[in-house]
Subunit: 407 residues, 2 copies
């Protein structure tokens, strides 16, 4: 009988716990697992020996199901990046010591870029040290959808569904008055515009959706933006603009920095507002109509009540696949998704050498952005649409969703 360890890392998503649910379900089915440990706060919890027994907490199928639909990282998360192996061997020795103490043979780490870096370093350390009885597997998770070697990432589809739904509702709200207005909606994404692009899905049922969409992959020019908005105002009372938080000018400088570098806040600090807020001020000054900026903020990554069933199901299966992968003796790999076709939507679950994944970023192809740089093309819609399909059956209690606490 073997013991396994699961941990979560990086920013929370609505689908990250579904992967844990998949691992637990598969481990229970396998019949060769004794204890399923979870580390609190990612690799930090491993180092600090802060473990809980998931098999004790998740006794019934209903517990596992509730965890599946619970947003944010139920095990807690961290931002700790392991030191280079040759620089700080102590850290690795400590991790292996804890894994040995709890007789862990499979360690599955769920997260984004930094987490895959941890999987890569730790599995490399084991190889160097001839430790061949601990299998280390990475499972992808990030709302940013920027991991390579997987068609898309768990967490992204649910965030995209929240964004598409919210834009379809904002469109109705912003158009009720018979006067001109501009609404600028800032979406997460410093370097990858996948989430911002999802705003276009609000058009699927006949809505206009955002009138303008600016992704951080394309240089952003303030004058062009102002002209685009003026142009749209000729035909629309209400103009809605979707922008990535990370839009940059042609020098690679964030728009918020370009405009604000000289502005001091009330305490004399450099004032740091988001790109949306900066563009709001520009529209107010240059166009003069009613203008508002909105940040979707944390809601876009934790709104479990509007999760995508496709996303959560895939996330769960990736957890099962990760377990299976470890159980078959693999180590130093990430499980992922390969798309066979978009319509009908067909995928396969695959594995990749972790070296091909760690520290790389997948951005939106420029060919999926229109030539004006202010909208996305059909290729993007075809890619995104399957990922937001299906609704999760939420357990409502007292009028609000019931979620699972692991500790």
């Amino acid at each position: 009988m073997k013991n396994i360890l699961v941990a979560q890392s990086g920013g929370p998503t609505s689908a990250i716990n579904a992967t844990v649910a998949g691992i637990v379900e598969m481990a229970k089915i396998s019949g060769n697992i004794n204890k399923i440990y979870g580390a609190k706060n990612g690799i930090q919890g491993v180092i600090e020996e802060s473990l809980i027994e998931l098999n004790e907490i998740l006794k019934d199928t209903s517990d596992v199901d509730l965890l599946y639909k619970t947003p944010a990282a139920a095990l807690g998360s961290c931002r700790l990046k392991l030191n280079d192996i040759d620089k700080c061997e102590n850290q690795y020795e400590q991790i292996i010591k804890v894994l040995r103490k709890y007789s862990i043979t499979y360690f599955i780490y769920i997260g984004g870029n930094d987490s895959m870096d941890t999987v890569e370093k730790l599995s490399r350390y084991c190889k160097v040290k001839n430790i061949d009885d601990i299998n280390i597997i990475g499972a992808p998770k990030t709302i940013d959808n920027d991991l390579v070697e997987t068609d898309h990432c768990p967490g992204f589809g649910s965030a995209a569904k929240y964004i598409a739904t919210t834009f379809s509702e904002l469109e109705r709200d912003c158009s009720v008055y018979n006067t001109q207005s501009v609404t600028i909606v800032e979406v997460m994404g410093r370097n990858a515009g996948w989430l911002t692009a999802s705003s276009a899905l609000s058009r699927l049922n006949g809505g206009i959706g955002p009138n303008l969409i600016y992704l951080c992959e394309k240089d952003f020019n303030i004058n062009k933006f102002t002209n685009d908005v003026k142009e749209k105002l000729k035909d629309n009372n209400s103009v809605i603009v979707a922008i990535s938080e990370g839009i940059k000018n042609s020098n690679g400088q964030y728009i918020s920095d370009e405009v604000q570098s000289s502005v001091k806040d009330v305490f004399g600090h450099n004032y740091i507002a988001g790109a949306g807020r900066v563009l709001e001020e520009i529209v107010r000054k240059e166009i003069g109509c009613k203008v508002r900026s909105i940040e979707l903020n944390l809601m876009q990554r934790c709104a479990g009540h509007i999760g995508s069933k496709t996303d959560l199901d895939e996330s769960k299966i990736l957890g099962m696949k990760a377990f299976q992968c470890a159980n078959e003796g693999n180590s130093g790999v990430m499980v992922g998704i390969k798309r066979i076709s978009s319509n009908p939507y067909k995928i396969e679950f695959v594995t990749t050498d972790i070296k091909k994944v760690a520290n790389l970023e997948k951005k939106v192809p420029l060919s999926w952005i229109n030539s004006n740089g202010n909208d996305v093309k059909k290729e993007m819609i075809d890619y995104l649409k399957p990922l937001i399909q299906g609704e999760v059956s939420i357990n409502y209690k007292n009028g609000i969703p019931e979620y699972m606490n692991l500790y």
Copy 2:
């Protein structure tokens, strides 16, 4: 056979269209109504003779049902307040001329304070002019929940459910890291704190909810706030604070104005940030831990996908009641809700002379706020809890909610 006219005014809500659905359904059942007109953009659309025929658009039960669950004002809205009767009789003459032209005998106006002012003035004008064959009825609607003579207002329950759900999800997101952080969430409400108080409902399933709640009814003191936060950080890694956008100091000055009156933005204008953003800067300076501010912004009033069934059902019945009221020959009244008991939740639908409603504001009783001024008491929870119960069955299509367009 008679014709009726419906219009919507003020800020959109998730429940305002349910009232229209109730009016249309009841008018169809009554058998004595020929045409059901809707005015675009409220009383503005009446003045400008911009009417649509709802009986043509809402042919089937399924159309009425889709309208019931569609957020924002499907007829469009306006912010127009009628002039005083003695100052500008023209405006009233024009309205009556349009009502006559379309043989309107019942006019139902759905909205908040300003809309009830319109109902009051218009029904008074009719009385003065001995126009006794046009019945004018007000139906309440406001997420602010600040109308008097009704226990609560349609739209509020759905906004409260969104807020409670969002706080329960933010709590999970903000607590994943093992480091200290403060999250300040700004909720709508310039003069009434009902919406901010709803954040406490996130505790119903065992959550901590917001650690601190500040309503705009109580004087806000920045030093006390900073001390409250420091105190909470002793026992909690993640401290979440709910504030009304309209929190004011003991001089009645908005906190945002108190702090920022000297700050200029990049264009030399007085910089206007919300209270949340201002408090974020104060926490950053005075406490120094990780801090973030979030505005729930328009999402809290248009998130139809998480509407309260209790709210939408009551809103629909108020529409039916408004029709019935007009059909029985009443005019110059508002329909409303009287609470019989909270547990079990029992209400009656009532009518009130519009003179008792117009231009008044219902605030949170100070006795429902704790003595420290940083949380709400059990009386508030008992009042709020029934209003967020039940979920609306949303028609999802292509992964996003399907909603109704009237034009």
